[in-house]
Symmetry: C2
Subunit: 435 residues, 2 copies
């Protein structure tokens, strides 16, 4: 890791105000920031590590807004089950056996995969979040982490409580030393596990801690129906009434929305994590992405956990979010390539309230970026780099990943994570959990 | 290339009668066939090239039933356009400039991508098919190739005629010398470009040549509506009435089907190429795959051309065909992993009337197979190899590809194709065509 890196003569997909693509530019990284972008032939700082950009494309690091990283341990462990059977007979019993070690190694495996695939920031919600934070800190990735918790009356079942989640935030603030790469946020699970009175308490704590909220919202038909029956309103309307949308929030899924829901989410600037792959795989359906975007909703993309995807490949989400809208609206013009790519970069940054700092290649932004190798059969010829990224590329095409100015991955080599050890340890955890 | 290859101690996803997965087996290839599959510790033939199977998974070569290979030249050249504008303003004008050289290099690029991604057999339909055949012959892939043609009255526009297509078949039979790896078939474009009287002539020639038919069928809403208006019946009912389904046929797309169509396709054993990615991208929609399979229709998978996909990654089609049905039918149990994988292997072989010879790992089958490297973050832990292949893998994870017993690709190296030269030449063709 050097403090100065210069990427030379590379196409830059900037995602800046004009979403411009620079056909061949130089990008200088210094002290964790993008120091300079130029198209000239300026002198190269002698102490910079130089990366040749020919045949490659530089993109802002991808932002994964909804994950349960440690669930990589349950990848391909229980697929094609009815939702409730999947949860109650497979996932919950396995999760009941989870230890701190499991979460550490499961997260580490997810970090290998995310970094390998160009993801530089992710948002997580799971158990033993201090272990996730530990793995993230070691890896060098950027993350917002929430200890998942449910309404107090269910704490006996082994779930976390609000108090556990607050403790995580407070402890983390002590450990982080103000660096800010890893941020602890608050993760109430969903409205069907957190009743309104409890959510009011959560909201108060959120204000007190000045924390961001990460929650599942309107993911399944059942959730919406149950909410209508119990509260006489949709999950979105319920959270709005509780005042939840006055706070910064990251709402995962948002699949089943009526027009009023879309209007509320848009006008309140609620951050939405659109997770097309998981929504299909669990049988939840297809979110009205085009309608949300027409209403200027604040949307980015997420993979969800690897147990319901089953990978953490953001390129798949980018392609799928566009194709699903084209296919179901019978209109090949909707969500064009640039807009789909924007969701995974600029869109994610907007949801995290980090616009200008993340999801963009411009001077002064954080040096979180990925270099994609286009010298692959499926990325030839070079007719249009953005269309290639959106419709043809996959996580495997990423060659170099930089977060905060540090090279975390380069052509097969991880610099902060021990790949072989993680495979071994995560494999051991997975074998024990699936027994 | 050796005539004997032994893959040792590898998990084998056989797709044989019981679709069994052998946790650790040996597979011996001799003279183009799978000579032996065993789980014991038999003596290794001294003259065999040995491939160590640890950390890998061996699968039957994937079968891509619908492609326009040379259209890789138009990858990412014109996306997100309305269908008619895409065709008439972008694709047709570019295709009008196509030369034999273009088709040769465009096909070669597609062959790099397909072989790289574990596809060992594909079905094609395009112009200058003798150039496609030449590239296929050089590459070592298995293929069924059809010179596309439309109703005679349109020949003036530069499209091929039935006579051109027949000439291709006759010439190819002379050149092929009975090897049979590349088969020339007949490709009438679609019912909206081939009127019924013309299709009757085609059918006669098909019988005379004993050729398989490859046609686009019920791809778009417009095609079906136009057919109903003009002929008072659906495209499927029309072809049925013409007697087309008495011949072996590969029907591409089959998206817009009513119950009677599904009944006809199923009872007549019509071979269907389901192309989920292209169907979404062009705004055509989602085919009723689950219904087709419930009715025991003969279905495999295809990518369509790279201009409407935009890659030739069969793993994407496998994942997508399952996820789309789960998502739209609100049922995560439909098209489970093994069934999705079956469509790309056994299903494809059935459509090609090659069951037992292709799409399966068993003694006596053709040695067409791929080895997938599971030592990747997104394929860990090894909970279930088939679920990993279907829900987590991509074309990039293929490490070795064997067709007819010949190793065509191994860990980054192509043995029959010149990767650098193809990138250079295909890039040159693409630049000229998009001007």
């Amino acid at each position: 890791m050097k403090s100065k890196v210069l990427i030379k003569n590379a196409p830059l997909v900037t995602m800046d105000e004009n979403c411009g693509v620079i056909d061949s530019g130089n990008l200088l990284i210094e002290d964790g920031f993008i120091k300079m972008i130029s198209t000239g032939t300026e002198e190269i700082p002698g102490d910079a590590e130089v990366i040749a950009g020919e045949g490659k494309v530089v993109i802002p690091g991808l932002i994964n807004l909804h994950n349960h990283a440690a669930m990589t341990l349950f990848r391909s462990y229980a697929d094609d089950y009815p939702l409730m059977e999947w949860l109650t007979k497979k996932i919950f019993p396995a999760e009941a056996k989870l230890t701190e070690e499991d979460v550490y190694w499961g997260t580490s495996l997810a970090l290998l995969e995310m970094i390998r695939g160009g993801t530089t920031t992710f948002v997580d919600m799971y158990y033993f979040m201090e272990q996730t934070a530990r793995a993230c800190q070691e890896s060098g990735i950027r993350a917002m982490l929430s200890q998942v918790f449910i309404g107090a009356e269910s704490s006996s079942k082994g779930f976390n409580t609000l108090e556990d989640a607050i403790k995580f935030i407070e402890n983390w603030q002590d450990q982080d030393n103000g660096h800010g790469r890893i941020q602890a946020i608050l993760g109430p699970h969903a409205i069907y596990t957190c009743p309104p009175d409890f959510l009011k308490r959560v909201l108060k704590e959120t204000e007190h801690l000045n924390a961001i909220i990460h929650i599942h919202l309107s993911e399944s038909r059942d959730e919406v129906e149950q909410s209508l029956q119990t509260y006489g309103k949709t999950p979105v309307a319920l959270l709005d009434e509780l005042g939840m949308f006055e706070r910064q929030i990251i709402a995962g899924h948002c699949v089943h929305l009526n027009d009023q829901d879309i209007e509320i989410l848009s006008s309140k600037g609620v951050g939405i994590s659109h997770n097309p792959c998981s929504n299909l795989k669990l049988g939840n359906g297809i979110a009205p992405l085009q309608k949300l975007l027409e209403n200027k909703a604040c949307v980015g993309l997420g993979t969800d956990g690897a147990a319901s995807n089953n990978n953490l490949d953001m390129f798949e989400e980018i392609k799928l979010c566009s194709l699903l809208q084209k296919g179901t609206l019978a209109d090949p013009t909707v969500i064009p390539a640039l807009q789909a790519f924007e969701l995974a970069t600029l869109g994610g940054a907007r949801v995290l309230n980090m616009e200008g700092a993340l999801g963009v290649l411009k001077e002064g932004a954080r040096a979180d970026l990925a270099i994609v190798n286009f010298d692959k059969p499926h990325l030839q010829p070079h007719n249009d780099p953005v269309a290639n990224l959106v419709y043809s590329a996959s996580a495997n095409d990423v060659e170099t990943v930089i977060v905060d100015g540090n090279i975390l991955y380069d052509r097969g080599q991880f610099f902060t994570l021990d790949e072989e050890k993680i495979y071994y340890e995560a494999g051991k955890c997975a074998r024990r959990l699936r027994q």
